[in-house]
Amino acid sequence: MLAAINLLLLLFLVVCAIVVARTKDLLSATIIFGAYSMVMSIIWQQLHSPDVAITEAAIGAGATSLLFLAAISRTGRHEE
């Protein structure tokens, strides 16, 4: 059961990564990237590394997304 969930999460990661690369809308890509980081942090919690999980949730999903949003607000949302 747990193994199945983990497999699903891993699959989700790959799908997210491909979608991030494919989406034309940069804002959506950033949100999906945040989801990717969040799932990554859940996986790390599953692997019993809570320190890394909490840091990734705060820095990878939180701070990095915020920085991306700040940059997008100045450079335009759509890929030409």
């Binding site: 320190d51 909490i54 705060a58 939180g62 701070a63 700040a70």
Partner: protein, 146 residues
């Protein structure tokens, strides 16, 4: 322009976030977390604060000097506690035998680890806030670019 909903949300959420960040920071040596995650959470609360009040009031904005002192102070605490080890005749960044280690499991234990965690927390909080602010509006002034 006042945004009532944002301000009310901010009044509740900002202290809650800061409390959570401080918990993670202070318990870095006892539970998951530590300087980097706790500092980022506190920094995020600063970001929220500046976003809520940015349009309404100039005096609520964090000054550049404040975040600079946060960063430099944190870094100096780190290097300083490393040099203390040399002053005591041990090695750089020595904890055992230089700082009081205390009883494992208590909040006030583990000597340098707690001190340095707090330093890193201050530094990271300042850094995250500063990075966001710079990316959002740094150099936007007409004289900011030649």
């Amino acid at each position: 322009m006042h945004d009532m909903i944002l301000e009310m949300l901010g009044r509740i959420l900002i202290p809650a976030t800061q409390l959570f960040g401080a918990y993670i920071l202070f318990h870095g040596h006892l539970s998951p977390g530590g300087g980097f995650s706790g500092g980022t959470i506190i920094g995020a609360s600063f970001i929220f604060y500046s976003l809520v009040y940015r349009f309404s009031d100039k005096k609520h904005r964090l000054k550049h000097e404040t975040s600079l002192w946060f960063e430099v102070g944190g870094a100096l605490i780190y290097v300083g506690s490393g040099l203390v080890g040399i002053l005591f005749g041990r090695h750089f960044l020595t904890n055992q035998g230089v700082f009081p280690i205390g009883e494992p499991g208590r909040l006030w234990s583990s000597g340098m680890i707690l001190l340095v965690t707090l330093g890193i927390g201050a530094k990271v909080a300042g850094t995250v806030f500063k990075l966001f602010q710079e990316l959002l509006e740094g150099g936007a002034e007409p004289d900011g670019h030649h």
